[in-house]
């Protein structure tokens, strides 16, 4: 793993105002580690302050983003680091996620697609739902390839319980 620490550099830049609402989490690109990271992020939400539906949305979105990094960026090698910066900014959580894996196809975030109601169930696509869900759940979604790293940022709305 080459942990060139862009996440940390961003921290320093952004620290003035949001410092104590920001936490960074790093984990190895495996499914179990990704699940623990998701629990770790959801755990940051003050209990009882956010509706279960919004917590579900947070979990779904993070699972899709992390699974894509594990499966596509690091191609299921189980090796590679994922850095996540989490900022509490009412009314939501803002995420910036870095990895050192493969870039997105054509260097751009694919659109993904939902099920096609004009086709039968057994004719539906087997993939592409991940990014479609991410796009529906996340606001201000932005992908950038910089200095050999992937950087994805977005916001998940959390309304009060």
């Amino acid at each position: 793993m080459p942990p060139e620490n862009h996440a940390r550099q961003d921290t320093v830049r952004a620290s003035a105002a949001v410092a104590d609402s920001r936490i960074e989490i790093s984990f190895e690109a495996t499914n179990p580690a990704a699940r623990r990271a998701i629990r770790s992020i959801i755990g940051q939400v003050e209990p009882g302050t956010v509706s279960q539906e919004d917590i579900d949305v947070l979990e779904i979105a993070l699972a899709e983003v992390f699974n894509n990094i594990v499966e596509h960026a690091y191609q299921d090698t189980g090796r590679g680091q994922v850095d996540v910066a989490v900022e509490m900014r009412t009314p939501g959580m803002h995420f910036t996620i870095w990895d050192d894996g493969e870039p997105m196809p054509a260097g751009r975030l694919p659109g993904g697609a939902p099920a096609d109601p004009s086709l039968d169930a057994h004719e539906q696509a087997e993939g592409g739902y991940g990014l479609f869900m991410i796009r529906q759940l996340a606001r201000k979604l932005r992908y950038e390839r910089t200095e050999g790293r992937n950087r994805l940022s977005f916001r998940i709305k959390l309304s009060s319980a």
Binding site: I60, E71, G130
Partner: protein
């Protein structure tokens, strides 16, 4: 992936005994499902009451099972958790696959006709 199957009239009911169908378990689920549905009736009812959550990989695995069943046999889903429902709604998969509230509803004659 733990699957239990049982024949109920013209239906094969397959119950998933795991709390998630996700990236870590999707391949296993697909394999085990293919094994479970060999030579069965027209309707396969997949009971998801134990499943708390599913992700796009799990969804892909379910589509792959539907492909395997082809045009003549149908996969229908039973007892979706709130979180699983959200995934089906977000991907609009709820418009192309039959979803039943519970097993009783799924096997009753009215449902068969739908």
């Amino acid at each position: 992936m733990n699957l239990r199957s049982e024949t109920r009239g013209i239906c094969l009911v397959v119950t998933v005994d795991a709390d998630r169908i996700d990236a870590a378990t999707a391949v296993q689920f697909k394999d085990d499902m293919r094994r479970a549905v060999t030579d069965t009736a027209e309707r396969v009812l997949l009971d998801l009451s134990a499943v708390d959550s599913i992700d796009s990989s799990g969804l892909g695995a379910i589509v792959s099972v539907m492909k395997y069943l082809g045009a003549d046999r149908r996969l229908e889903l039973v007892s979706l958790s709130q979180k699983v429902q959200t995934v089906f709604r977000l991907t609009r998969m709820d418009a192309v696959i039959t979803i039943h509230e519970n097993l009783e509803r799924a096997v009753e004659p009215a449902a068969r006709a739908s």
